[in-house]
């Protein structure tokens, strides 16, 4: 209802000269994870990314990979944030793209599970007490050692974004780190 918007949008006091009416929104910002099924063709990722940058939407994370047996479709998982009206726009704008087959707003349609893969390299002094501590913490987080030298480990660990970030923060305290992350993939729960 129009009134509802009116209360959500208030005009700004300090505006630059402009041909437009500008507003500051005090609507709450939400984070949503969307699963976008697209035809696997050249340029499709550019379309999706161009849509986000062209319309000023946020991308917190984006992953893409082919997911069907014949490689004809890819799944793009996007974590984005915005006001509820912007989130609705993002979904509708994605739907307009010709090679987009379907969109699931997992956050809205929930419940769903999401995971990220992180590879974390931690460099410490050889034979230092940190080395043992690093291994102990990694164990608690369920991180697997995939490579080691006398002065370093590379861990692979999966989890939701929170867990991955906590692990990385912890490792930063224990040594010099280098991080590679896959970004979020997500899927709805149940049948």
């Amino acid at each position: 209802m129009a009134k509802k918007v009116a209360s959500q949008i208030k005009s700004s006091k300090s505006q630059p000269g402009s041909a437009y009416f500008m507003v500051d929104s005090d609507q709450r910002i939400e984070q949503h994870t969307m699963a976008v099924m697209v035809i696997n063709e050249p340029g499709v990722l550019a379309r999706v990314i161009g849509l986000f940058s062209g319309r000023g939407y946020n991308i917190e994370s984006l992953t893409v990979a082919s997911v069907t047996h014949d490689d004809s479709m890819s799944l793009i998982t996007i974590v984005t944030s915005g006001t509820p009206m912007v989130i609705e726009q993002i979904r509708n704008q994605l739907e307009r793209l010709v090679p987009v087959d379907s969109i699931k707003d997992l956050t809205q349609e929930g419940p769903y599970v999401e995971r990220e893969l992180a590879m974390v390299k931690v460099v410490t002094k050889a034979k230092s007490p940190e080395r043992a501590e690093v291994l102990r913490c990694a164990d608690i987080f369920g991180a697997k050692v995939v490579d080691t030298t006398t002065r370093s480990f590379v861990f692979a660990m999966t989890g939701n974004t929170d867990k991955v970030e906590s692990f990385i923060d912890l490792m930063r305290e224990l040594g010099r780190t280098e991080v590679a992350r896959s970004g979020v993939v997500a899927i709805g729960r149940g049948t």
Partner: protein, 590 residues
Amino acid sequence: MASLKPMNGAEIVIQSLIDQGVEVVFGYPGGAVLPIYDAIFQQSSVRHVLVRHEQGAVHMAEGYARSTGKVGVVLVTSGPGATNAVTGLTDALMDSIPIVCLTGQVPTHLIGNDAFQECDTTGITRPCTKHNYLVKEPKDLARIIHEAFFVARKGRPGPVVVDLPKDIQFADCPYVMPESVKPTTYRPATRGKIQAIEKAVDLLSNAKKPIFYGGGGIINAGPAACKKFTDFVRATGYPCTLTLMGLGAFPASDKQFLGMLGMHGTYEANMAMHDCDVMIAVGSRFDDRITGRLDAFAPDAKIIHIDIDPSSINKNVAVDIPIIGNVAHVLGQLTGTWDKRKNRKRNLKELKAWWKQIEDWRSRDCLAYKKNSEIIKPQYALERLQALTEKRDTFITTEVGQHQMWAAQFLKFEKPNHWMTSGGLGTMGYGLPAALGVQTGHPGKLVIDIAGEASFMMNMQEISTAVQHHLPVKVFILNNEYLGMVRQWQELLHGGRYSESYAAALPDFVKLAESFGAVGLRANKPSEIDDVITEMVEVDNVVIADIVVDPTENVYPMIPSGSPHNEMLLGPAAKGKGSGKVTEKGKVLV
């Protein structure tokens, strides 16, 4: 029909166009499309109109498409040909006009090499097309061209680019017929959900202060949909306003029509939008020229919104009853449901009071202007043009500026597809080429470009196209020697500091016309107007009519940006003053 002889890519292109029912292509040749031009040379089914600038080609295709309801087709070369087309493509995207634009490209093995006249056409046009394609394999060519037509016209129409590398044009390609092609992932809704239709009819039935707010989507849906819209509005007896893009969807002469709404809309339309209790938006998209201040937009209204594109709904204004579907179908559904409830109770007393209020607003006569016997008022020129062309089936295009707004206010559109204007992008230089496109689709009809002298000069090279192809369009220049719309804002909002808005060093438009082999006419005084218009209409040639008008005239009413609908600036001749004035805060906002 598809022939069985093997065809090369260029021949496939032409065969696809023929099978898509294309009659005319607007284009300009160059190295990367020579094979296609060779194929054009060897056939006579598809006509080619040689333009003078690729931007003109796209606007011509837009004018053709908007006036005929068909897809407009453009053919340009690679590199500069493609980049010149970009403004036209963006214009078509903003106004939802179906276009297929074929661009030449360097051979596939040279793509990415900075080859001669190479540009990343699909990259450049991705954000300004509904969709685009680069054909990389001969086997995909026919399918992609047919798919491009499908996408351009389906759902919310728009421009589609097909980039054609030169080696593909030479290669042997298999042909497929249009019917066998359908993109599987593009499926716009057509019918509205039945619960939403029921709720909408409930709301409309119980309304006390209703209004129809129709837009370009009704025109997109075709003349039959416009008729359904008109019938439905009449069945309800409710007032109706239209956007700039919607003019013609409902007859201007109907008592229920309140005129255009928005920044330069009528007092009655904007006041009714502000005060209504039920608003039904049909194929219109709550553009910022319409809503003004969002927090003061129709504060008491329940809103029904019919649109084929879900992204138009809840974009600027949150609505109560969204109906996603083609207005052609949804109006049928609404009418059916409305008719079934013949015996419902209506708020007849309140509706009568609402109309009385509207008549009060109407009596302010918001479009009135001060008459003058010495100097031609632009409004007067248009009133005379209206009077002297009323009996004909006249098509109007416009450039962008004050003249465009006066044309929207003072010309009366009784039928759809007779009004072509650049609304969303506001492209100066649109009107002349668009008029040529209209004339191509409607030989023998009267086609007039209402122009400003500055806009006309942005694409005036197309007069040469008009003369070459015997497209006897009329350019009616309301010559105020100013970038008038800019001057008006500077007068009202920037303390009369007319920075760079004087149209200096204008050519003599009469001589200019003659140099092209067209006819040039001029009116300096009000007494000369009728003769000039009569001659312009009668002569069977391209005409440039230079109508020398009052340089100081402003367009009213005007809702300054940042103001609500009920605070409008009215002209000096309107009865009673508008409640609006440009405040310091408003100046910042405009």
